[in-house]
Amino acid sequence: MSAAPGTTPVQAPTTAARPDEGFLAGMWLIVTLDLKQRVRGVAWYVLLGVFVLLVTIVTGLLVLATNAWDDGGGGVFSTIVFFVLLLGTLVSPALSGNAINGERDAGTLATTQVTLITTAQLVVGKWIAAWLTALAFLAASLPFLVFAVALGQVSAPTIMVSVLVLAIELGVIAAIGVGLSGVLTKPLFSVAVTYLVVAALSIGTLIAFGLGGTAIQTTVRQTYVGVDWQALEQDGPPPAGELAPCLPPDIREYPTPRFDLVWGFLAANPYVVLADAAPGTFDEYGSPRDLFGWIAVGVRSAQHAPETDALIDDCATWRPSGEYVQPDVETPQDVYDRSVPSWFVGLTINALLGGAALFWAWRRTEVPARRLPSGSRVA
């Protein structure tokens, strides 16, 4: 306190309340406040350093392992993007999962809430700040992506779409983290639950897909028609233009999993969203050029119901000359092209999840508080 308080005017220089203060201005104030605090801590730089180191190692190993100098870097690029998503999903909950309840614990939440900053500005600002922090990791990995691109053969749309979707997925995880930090009281608990949600999306969807598909089984009736080799040996090869002697059809029935009924689970997987969103590029044999393509083909082929009445007719394709007639088999590209793209469904599911978490946090954090969760305080 000043020794001579009489000399210091107490009046504020301007009128304090400007009721029409824009939503964005107030929100941005929260964003900059949050970022300022993060940037001035050491922890964040350490994380960023470790992250860059890991990406460097992975890139180096990938280049050696995939012979990327020769095949054009498509595999390297897609793997690095996945790796960035993996690390992003591992780091982001720790950065966002205590955004609101951490402030409450520190005693700075209520002092913000008694100002003209609204709860919506606070929650959205926290989310944007957490998202920007996660995007810094993406930015740090850009040199490696550029390197992968420099190896050649990665199309511009693939780069743009995959980086964009990656950024959105990081935003979704930030939203879930900030949302849960507003819903749950204890920072440790909300960080852990955020990790669980991320794990549910990344691994849980795979488990649900695998188990769900195997649990629902359909019996497939397969008819096999083989060449009657015995008759062929006795009678000699048939004259040209005639068919080979065939065995009677062999019919067998067996159960097969119905992944076509549960492929929707996979759609919500962030990795699948990323892979499916990137435009597929295929080589001349119809095979995908990168990891994205293979995953997309895998997911899309799961959309199709198994043929319940399959016929394999070896006899029809046998030629006495010994020439092998290629049966009419689909290439991966054919499967890809005749299936429904799932990425926008998955992205919508993820965005709704993040949005719902933020909305819930907003409702829970709104003051004046009518009902408080047991064991929590406003301030």
């Binding site: 306190m1 005017p9 301007t14 406040l33 605090q37 008694v114 004046p368 301030a379």
Partner: protein, 385 residues
């Protein structure tokens, strides 16, 4: 109530203005504006009150200040505030007094637009914190009992950010924060991160933040805890000065001596119930201890024994503590002592007015909430311990 003050100099004020302000007469009559009746205290016809209301308050005195009527709030099974009714007119400093767990902080949280009351109504500067929180927030400065600060920000940044949260432009906000840093004497630490501040320094930062938008109503929860004596004096002067400017101040504190010097009204609360005005008045009138000192201790002792106080008075080398039933008795005893030639140097209540009322109210049981539709159930003393 402090009818007799011998050899006690008026309290000094650094700026010399406090004495001149109308809210701060030299011998200060303590008006207790507590009252659970539906009629707000400001409508009661105490001459001083109506006088203040005409002159004080920027809003003409009729809508400003704090009015709390029949407010209740519980957390699950726990009834933190059961029946709170009081009002603080503009230009007044009210002490919020009560034992731990009495509901003081809950009450302040409701005033600070952070908690919704279950029942009753609150008006701050004429606005309802539940339905018009924005209007209320623009007008209140709240200093919480938990000391929080953004640890990585400097003192200056923290205050500037707070100012900007009230919609101030960048330049105005930094000018304001510079002024407040001087006001709370944090200039040497202005560019250090707030995490290095000591408890008392954080307390001062918290006070500066509460003042950042020049609020007309101040809610201070334990503002003096952790402050050194110099800072306490400065806080007291600042609070009095703000009241002199027509602001309304509600201060909660356990340090009653401190409130004694700062507050001109008091709100007593125990078990979530504010004390009724008559209970407070009765407590104020009850028998209390008076401390008497004389230049000649032996002569004082003899005079007291001669006057028949030998068995009830507690006499030691510092002087004597004498139980007296009323202020009239006190005046009489003083006159007697002076007339028999005892060189009395000090004659004053042993405990402050606030402490006396506080202790008396708590001794008597929970304060009766007069005309309350749900009278406070009697609760044994242990529950409040």
């Amino acid at each position: 109530m402090r009818a007799v003050m011998v050899m006690r100099l008026p309290r000094p004020y650094a700026d010399g203005r406090a004495h001149a302000t109308p809210t701060r007469p030299g011998t200060r009559p303590r008006r207790l504006s507590t009252g659970p009746t539906a009629i707000p205290a400001r409508r009661r016809t105490t001459p001083l009150d109506s006088d203040r209301l005409r002159g004080g308050g920027r809003d003409g005195g009729t809508v400003g200040g704090i009015t709390v009527e029949r407010v209740a709030r519980s957390f699950g099974e726990v009834e933190a505030v059961r029946h709170a009714s009081f009002s603080v007119p503009p230009g007044h400093v009210a002490g919020l007094i009560g034992p731990n767990g009495a509901g003081k902080t809950t009450l302040l949280l409701m005033l600070a637009t952070l908690l919704t009351p279950d029942a009753g109504s609150i008006r701050i500067a004429g606005f309802d914190p539940v339905t018009q929180p924005r209007e209320v927030r623009a007008r209140i400065g709240w200093m919480p009992d938990t000391l929080g600060s953004w640890p990585a920000l400097t003192v200056r940044d923290a205050l500037t950010t707070s100012a900007r949260m009230y919609g101030m432009a960048k330049d105005a906000a930094s000018a304001r924060s510079a002024r407040l840093i001087d006001l709370v004497d944090l200039r040497p630490l202005a560019d250090r991160p707030t995490r290095v501040l000591s408890r008392g320094q954080k307390q001062r930062l918290s006070l500066a933040r509460a003042l950042v938008h020049d609020p007309e109503v101040l809610l201070l929860d334990e503002p003096a805890s952790g402050l050194d004596p110099g800072a306490r004096v400065a806080l007291r002067d600042l609070v009095r000065r703000l009241a002199g400017e027509g602001k309304t101040v509600l201060v909660s504190s356990h340090v009653l001596a401190e409130l004694e010097e700062m507050a001109d009204t008091a709100v007593y609360v125990a078990d979530g119930v504010t004390a009724a005005a008559d209970a407070v008045a009765a407590a104020g009138r009850s028998a209390r201890q008076w401390r008497v000192r004389a230049l000649h201790a032996e002569r004082l002792r003899e005079a007291l024994i001669a006057a028949g106080f030998g068995t009830v008075a507690h006499i030691d080398h510092l002087g004597a503590i004498v139980p007296l039933a009323s202020e009239a008795d006190a005046a009489q005893l003083l006159a007697h002592l002076v007339s028999v030639g005892v060189p009395v140097s000090s004659f004053a209540p042993a405990v402050g007015d606030l402490e006396h009322v506080f202790l008396d109210l708590n001794r008597a049981g929970p304060p009766p909430a007069a005309s309350a539709p749900d009278p406070a159930a009697p609760i044994d003393g242990e529950a409040r311990a």
